[in-house]
Symmetry: C2
Subunit: 284 residues, 2 copies
């Protein structure tokens, strides 16, 4: 496995692999790798011959007062995980490499970035779209792999790639969960044991949503009210949003039908946690 | 020469050329080709093995009330020019091909898009940057060729490519001029014989600027006042701006030094014309 820091180096390695006929897979990460990332790497290894993992805590997707400084950066452990997982190249650039002196260019995706996390993290998806555009242009992968846990991110990036005619496929892999249903996330590290315990209510609310839809409930407000009740039972949990939206357009789903995403964002003290499920609802 | 309309077709042709070891050159145009475009094609042919000319009147770079509808579209004549010039592929997509049902993604370049034409054509450079990003992603050229006549466009695109790490070179070719100095432009077709005659004052004002700088004048206001006087002598000419700016940052140049761009935009009736020169000023 090669570990490189510069754009020129990663480009040279990928170019050589491509000239050998390899399909290139990119797994863009902010490091602090866990089994969720591993599932992305495994998907990339299944479909591609040459797998690049980028590790870059992207400053432009953090708002003022967010956790950019304290975001975990266990580089040695991350490299070990990548090595064991059969990654070919880890690209771990500096901020200077990715943003130069002054970055003036931004990729903006309208509409899809407005609801859900967009309301609570202004500029977040602009930062995500811009850094992904850079990474895609640097690596020119055949496919890039994202987790369903960050559902809005996946929808935004897919749309950016489609609108800007970027020559790659976006693959979205299922959320990896703990035994109690809790979605695996680098930010779970911020939780105390008690908070981790409390946070199980997030998945409980999503499971209840699925159950209600499967039982035939079609009133979005009835479902979100029930979900909120489950979350509000846990005193340490502060709700940011509980939403039912169309899984493609992210527009509020008043009538439940088609591919519906239930999405939750909460705070436990300073930690911000998100999760979602997608439910397919057949015509009735 | 192949003429293609779809993204898939142009991608397939370019891929085959690249696999044969060809360097790919792209000349993005809105058609209505003239000797200015020809000089771009010639530069591309000099440096590349396989030249793609795109012809696409990009709706998103025209404001409401601008000349999108009446912009000249002499496709047959354009194809003949490309054929004679040794172009390999003309890519002439539909608006549907380039923008799909609804385009949500935009490339925004800050600061550089604010002065000069940016003040008079809000959204113009967003449209230019976005369509160029699409074209670059579709063709993946080694180099793309632009004219110095649209100086701000060249600066903006160069910055977008640099910021977003796009894997191509931007080549800016000198403005091609008529015998009286008038910059060749597709929009010159809008002018009556009298207006065409009047429009010569644009280059006259730029030439006077160069003369003054070469004579040692270093006061920007003194120079632009003189330029305005030349333009105002022609009754049919309405000035939009007369500016001296740093040729890289496009910031107003109060002190004349380094690479200085003198830029002019005027209206003659409904036609809008722009031109510029760059003067190198050594330290004194």
């Amino acid at each position: 496995m090669q570990i490189v820091e510069t754009i020129e180096s990663v480009r040279a390695l990928v170019r050589a692999a491509r000239e050998d006929g390899s399909k290139i897979g990119l797994v863009p990460t902010m490091g602090a790798l866990h089994v969720g990332h591993l599932s992305l790497i495994e998907a990339a290894r299944q479909e591609c011959d040459f797998v690049v993992v980028s590790i870059f805590v992207n400053p432009t997707q953090f708002g003022p007062g967010e956790d950019f400084d304290k975001y975990p950066r266990p580089l040695e452990a991350d490299l070990e995980i990548c090595r064991k997982a059969g990654v070919n190249v880890v690209f771990a650039p500096t901020v200077e490499q990715m943003y130069g002196g002054e970055n003036l260019t931004w990729v903006e995706v309208e509409k899809l970035t407005e609801p859900l996390c967009g309301r609570f993290r202004p500029g977040h998806f602009r930062g995500v779209a811009t850094v992904c555009a850079k990474l895609f242009n640097i690596v020119l992968p055949d496919a890039a792999y994202f987790g369903q846990k960050d559902a809005q991110q996946a929808v935004v990036i897919r749309r950016m790639v489609s609108d800007l005619k970027m020559p790659l496929r976006i693959v979205v892999c299922p959320t990896v969960r703990e035994p109690d249903g809790m979605a695996v996330s680098s930010r779970n590290k911020y939780l105390t044991a008690q908070q981790r315990n409390d946070a199980a209510c997030i998945y409980k609310s999503l499971a209840r949503c699925r159950q209600m839809i499967e039982a035939g409930v079609r009133d979005a407000e009835q479902i979100t009210a029930e979900m909120r009740k489950i979350l509000e039972q846990v005193g340490s949990v502060e709700i940011e949003y509980v939403s039912l939206v169309d899984a493609e357009t992210l527009e509020a789903a008043e009538h439940i039908g088609g591919r519906i995403m239930a999405a939750v964002a909460v705070r436990l003290d300073t930690a911000r946690l998100i999760d979602n499920i997608v439910v397919e609802v057949g015509a009735q």
